[in-house]
Symmetry: D2
């Protein structure tokens, strides 16, 4: 590794450390915990594969009701979210980080209203509409999903989107941002506002 | 708590500690890790609610490719698996512990053969057949599932069974046993035999 | 392992799980954290070596100001505290568990008064008085220490005692009890009373 | 925080993440584990207090014989090592990171030889020579120690040094470097060479 690559990796890992502290300090983010647990990824500028994207090793879970990262930030620690951010960046280079969290009809109704207020695009993919020729071929599903979202949003990648319930697949919301700290800060605020409405 | 309840709780928590050591020492159990992660539960003799069933706080995950419990064993740490074991015990009091792990067509084919050799019942629930009047009412789904399985197995609860893919639900295999150490020992052996066939 | 040995091990490990929960829930126990960190041990009835004594793997530390066990309870996880409890049991079979925590002149003054109120013996060993023939021979130091304490307390092992500062050795207080939960409960109450006086 | 301070913090935290991975991957570093456990610190360029120095929250310990960080890197997580690096930087701005590890006569003999080969200064402080007017005043001890070391090494801060056994104080070795990854890499190589000689 040359020195500038090392420095870029340190910035990414350190930003994820600060992002995890923000998530772990949140009283409400646990309300958005999906069954598959949460991952938070942050991509190198020129990422081409999941090993160029750092995520949280072992994902982020709930222990005794508190948000808790299972391991350290690490390059290559995520597969699904890493491929997602790489695909997103083919359309919009401003996004380098993303997080997944729970999707339910209640969360979705809340997010629609919240995004309107924030001026953020919000869109969803209906997995049942995915053509067989994409879903059945390894690695074809993600490009179809992101392309579909971009078409729905007039050529832009929406800042928040969801993948609806699929057969054997938990529905999930995804939030994007320029770095991990921005993403963590946004999702913590979302969970706080959601808690105020639904508790 | 009276002294005998305390002693029963200690036995359960300590047995879970030993079971986690068995899982964490396995080279192969990670191959069976589902997206929702693993929980392992062990029930009090007279459990009536999830707080009488101990599980692993934060579930069991993979960190750096190694099996790792996120937290300590704790009463009330599981909901789904806890309700499952309580329902199972209405039919068969010998089972007090259970674990969930991944289900795929390949794993299922392997388990069919493996269970034949072991003389264990193996059966599965097709979630799409679940009547609306059960799936739509909170708490009605589990009784229907276990009743269906028992009917399929001539009145007995099968030692291994699966819940197939549902809309928004990951398919999962469940293994039952008399205590957590037995369940962990069995599932580690299953993962070892599965690895021999599929690696 | 025969079934009764397994059951004894489960009771010990599970009791340590509950004891750790008690320590981790304490707001004040962190005030008594020594530099060498804390270990909490619980011995088999017939322990003859450290592998028959369970302790906390990686010890108990402070993370973000909160008491946190680094690992799970495990047989053989402690050396010093394990040898201490084995030696104690040569004089008094009621003690099967022990914990170490910080010693300072302030803590010691507090404990003297506290033990008087509780009717507990409290005594300390001056490490500088330890004869060379014991301190210089591996394994001779612990028998000398416990024997000295017993002589100071009229033939009894004191429930609390300390080892004063030695050359290269941090001074430490030790609290004994019948099981890990009793020891954790006692030390949490001590830390609470100490906090009331010194904060 | 302005953007450049944020970036500096991310680089430091991320570099500590990579350093911890190096330590945790070492087969031998556990041989140098002191009773007080290890901390590894990395200082901001203009650090004036421990909150400007990042360390490992909960320190680095051994769990099941493997090196394991108890928590995440965090600013303000160290006191002693943080004050040490701040004091060191009054003499030599190249050093921004440091780690402590065990000191024994055997380790010291090995290090003398090792440092000779590497061309590194190696020196030690005899705590019994510390004047009462420094040791008895909070915050005076560290300046005296570093000043004494610098005088011993002809005006330079030695890359490795130790603080010998004190009354109630475990002796410790300290290794300095330009960043946390350098320090971790050096100490892992030291532990590997020490293991080859002493195992």
């Amino acid at each position: 590794m040359d020195a500038s690559t090392e420095q870029e990796k340190d910035v990414i890992l350190g930003n994820l450390v600060r992002a995890v502290q923000i998530l772990e300090s949140s009283e409400y983010f646990g309300l958005l915990m999906p069954e598959v647990r949460v991952n938070l990824v942050y991509s190198m500028e020129n990422a081409t594969s999941p090993k160029d994207v750092a995520g949280i090793d072992g994902r982020i879970t709930l222990v005794s009701g508190r948000v808790k990262a299972a391991g350290y930030p690490k390059f290559g620690a995520s597969d699904h979210m890493a491929r997602l951010i790489i695909e997103v960046r083919k359309y919009d280079r401003r996004y380098r980080a993303g997080i997944n969290f729970a999707w339910t009809p209640e969360i979705s109704t809340f997010l629609e209203e919240y995004c309107k207020k924030m001026g953020w695009d919000y869109a969803g993919i209906d997995r049942s509409l995915e053509p067989k020729e994409f879903s059945s071929v390894e690695g074809m599903s993600m490009p179809w999903k992101i392309k579909t979202l971009v078409e729905m949003c007039g050529g832009k990648v929406p800042k928040i989107f969801y993948e609806g319930p699929g057969l054997g697949k938990e529905p999930l919301t995804v939030l994007l941002g320029k770095d991990a700290v921005e993403v963590a800060t946004d999702v913590v605020e979302i969970s706080r506002m959601y808690a105020l409405k639904h508790k």
